[in-house]
Symmetry: C2
Subunit: 269 residues, 2 copies
Amino acid sequence: MTSSGAIMTGVKEAMPLEGEATTTEATQPRFAQVRDAVRADILAGVLPAGGRLPSEAQLCRQYGVSRITVRQALAELQASGLVHTVNGRGSFVSQPRAPGGQGPLVGVLEAMRKRGWKAHGRLLSHSVQKADAEVALALNLPPRTPVGAVTVARYCDDVPFAVGTTYLAPELAERLAAQDLEHNDVTDVLHRLLGLRTARTRVTVQAVAAQGMVARRLRKPAGAPLLRVLTTGLDYEGQPATYSETYGTPELLEYRVTLHNDTSSAREG
Amino acid sequence: MTSSGAIMTGVKEAMPLEGEATTTEATQPRFAQVRDAVRADILAGVLPAGGRLPSEAQLCRQYGVSRITVRQALAELQASGLVHTVNGRGSFVSQPRAPGGQGPLVGVLEAMRKRGWKAHGRLLSHSVQKADAEVALALNLPPRTPVGAVTVARYCDDVPFAVGTTYLAPELAERLAAQDLEHNDVTDVLHRLLGLRTARTRVTVQAVAAQGMVARRLRKPAGAPLLRVLTTGLDYEGQPATYSETYGTPELLEYRVTLHNDTSSAREG
DNA sequence: TAGTGGTCTAGACCACCTC
DNA sequence: AGGTGGTCTAGACCACTAA
């Protein structure tokens, strides 16, 4: 479904929609309907990233609502980062994670480079495995469901400082592994190049003792402190789309976040 | 332009407040002026926490603006968590950090208890010191400025799992240390009991090796991995108000956060 | 000049809550 | 019944950007 006409669903004809009269069932507010319709068009690719949205006047006609209602819908889309507006020019579909932009997540490579280091990644392996209990739980899948696993090491001036595995749909993993992970962060590739949309990201940060393969990869003796970062990316339906587990050396990797008092973000101990 | 009425502060008198005729200087939008005026009243305690705001109609008269403008102002205050509204009753000043509420920060004790553990804190020390370089930098003060330091240990079933020091204004530290830190989290006390308002919180999470006093307090051998969490609380002017440094045992303490795609929150590696 | 978003108003109907 | 917030409309002026 795309656009014109009524709001409720795919109805194409004008049909003032309106009228509360009798039907409308579980009537959501009109601005919410417009908001969801536009968001659906964006997520479905009908409105391509970077492209201009219909003008507010057009949206008014298209959905048969007043400008204030359209603006309320756009305001929420803007707050969620899916859309941005430029005075005098129009509203635009935000680039999914502009490179170096102000998305919520900044990849480790980008962060290192911003501080003046040379950093690069390397694809270590790429496979389809049966999800173990941990991955299945994180991705909300039945155990032993096939999932793609992409393991990447990150280097700072040729010293390895982080190694991690990202689990996601096999088809997405395939495309991820085909990208340039030498120069780009995994999160960046997923969002900017592959168009993945993430509504929320759950992060858990732990301290662990180095051991086994991870210790060797990071050139650490067993027992040395490492940072372990687990992230789960959730789509707009609340379903987990990606899960990653990353280990990093504490000298070079720390986790930073700024919590704004608005819109939650929950911290636990 | 027609309307009159003062926007600037809580002034009750009319005082037309410019019609933009010629000078308007750094004229902010009216809704922003209303928003800031109401926020100032809340932060200043003119509107007490938990109390009811003037109704939208009252605010319209008070500031001489239309209801839509008032609602736009309230919407932003609501988004920032300072205010919440109840259909049919009115708008209310949010309790600063409702106990167990949905504030951005959840203290460690609360988090442990939520998972079914018995947890308590203990005030270890409380003093006024000259800020060292690190604390001065974090609080944006000249070095050697006197600051209050409150050190607290947290126990889970009588096993110590976290110890940390909070630096803040001496007068606030005095009041903080006088509160019940046995049962309440420091962050909870600061916000709920002492009325501290925090616009943003910067958090840094690191993995470190246990050593010295911290290792002893947490009953860890030197070199064991510990989580180190640094937080800086920023007020609505962007000035740091609190700085804390906490060490925790990885078996019992981890850091969790949910990043929403809206409203930023920046992660770095 | 024409189109766009940014802001604002007056007025309206509804659902909800309290009295 | 009366007050409150939730939603919506039609119309207006402005600042900005573009052709």
